[in-house]
Subunit: 240 residues, 2 copies
């Protein structure tokens, strides 16, 4: 594995200048979706390139020595890590702003992004998608229904937590929409594709998701199909 | 579990005003150490309160609905998530600066923090500490030597990657010291406590760690002891 992190792969790795912006992604990756949503909100046009990251080709490691997607080719750089990418986009393309003005406001956005990308991912998205999507796509076995069940049970506490936030706030992190809403919506949209969200649990969370889903930025993401895995019937409907 | 994320636990949760700054932490937690190092660099004095997070008491969830440490009580708030905390500290206490001025510079710091807190943690720190420390402390079993071995083997590629970075840069993310150096040093210091770093692999990485270790900010961290687990003989030595 050593040679994969070769010095020549430093990041911000340089990409040949003059190439169009391109996102290396996977359709049902919540981290890829978060970046796509932020790109679309900022009206940055990118080509999409699907990356089968589990095949671990050398190109994957050349673009990102961590061997992960998403990777964004932009401004002659190859950018990795969804949160670092989204904050870079917000700092360099200020409109519309997706981070609040105050340090406490930005803190809260970052805390919630970590909530979804670390905690929610570990308890819900990763186990559920692993069993229900990746094992099939990557041909690594059959779904373990206990793992799926535990993941779907864990989602309840998260929906309740979000419900509590939305009782006091217009958006998850405060009065304005932020990267935190897109981080959360990215996870929910992956689960919703395979129909694993109980939208009846909270009208506030359903309303929040319906509002986000109707934004133009969401349209492209909802059009994605994962070969061999059919989306739930309500998946792309704005009224669900 | 649902009641743990009760609405009353929103963050930035409010702490009664006028209380001294306090960090709820665990001695060999890399995320706690990262925050401690940044606090010390900024010369912010805090009380330390040891939190046995694995006992999952209600106080843990009251302070941080995610049920994780570190949690920092500061300015009448209860702050969680190490990266969100460190960036908040850097934005509110600007001296010394631990983030670069340019968006590309900040991107690189954030990418590397995620490298250590996500990838390095998953491949090295978490499995190795889990087997060698937490199973003993939390009385959950005996170390699995295969897991330890895999973790210690994975560390090599990371050291080589850091070596490559340090061939071109004074600090991990660029010409100036940053949160990325403290994130990385926090992981290495936890592993070094149990003597699991092969410092002979790279003189550049050893020199980088020696320089960081000799900073006043590191002194307190190195003085920590984990009851029942003795530090390696060279652990607190500046010349190792
Ligand atoms: N912290 C990363 C996580 C990205 C991630 O875990 N991507 C997955 C696909 S959803 C991946 O590439 N996994 C391959 C691997 O971890 O080796 C980010 O936010 O971008
Ligand atoms: N993303 C968090 C991770 C913190 C974390 O994982 N802390 C561990 C101890 S090192 C913990 O509290 N684990 C308890 C749990 O995950 O339930 C951060 O950066 O602060």
């Amino acid at each position: 594995m050593t040679d994969r992190y070769a010095p020549s792969t430093h990041s911000p790795a340089r990409a040949p200048a003059g190439q169009p912006a391109r996102l290396y992604h996977t359709p049902l990756s919540p981290f890829s979706r978060k970046v796509r949503l932020v790109l679309a909100e900022k009206r940055i046009e990118v080509e999409l390139a699907e990356e089968r990251y589990w095949e671990q080709g050398p190109e994957l490691f050349r673009r990102n020595p961590a061997g992960k997607i998403p990777v964004l080719r932009l401004d002659g750089m190859l950018l990795a890590e969804s949160q670092a990418i989204c904050e870079y986009l917000d700092e360099t393309v200020p409109s519309p702003p997706l981070m609040p003005d105050s340090p406490a406001g930005r803190y809260e956005v970052r805390r919630l992004c970590a909530w979804f990308d670390d905690k929610f991912n570990a308890e819900v998205t990763r186990p559920v998608l692993n069993e229900r999507v990746w094992k099939k796509v990557q041909k690594t076995g059959y779904p373990d229904s206990r793992v799926v069940k535990a993941g779907l049970s864990a989602i309840k506490a998260h929906v309740d937590y979000m419900h509590g936030l939305l009782e006091e706030r217009r958006w998850l992190a405060g009065p304005t929409i932020s990267i935190a809403d897109f981080a959360a919506a990215a996870h929910f949209s992956c689960l919703d594709y395979i129909s694993d969200v109980d939208w009846d649990r909270s009208d506030l969370v359903r309303q929040w998701y319906a509002t986000i889903k109707s934004r133009p930025a969401f349209r492209n993401v909802l059009a994605d199909q994962m070969p061999g895995i059919h989306p739930a019937p309500h998946y792309a409907l704005l009224d669900f």
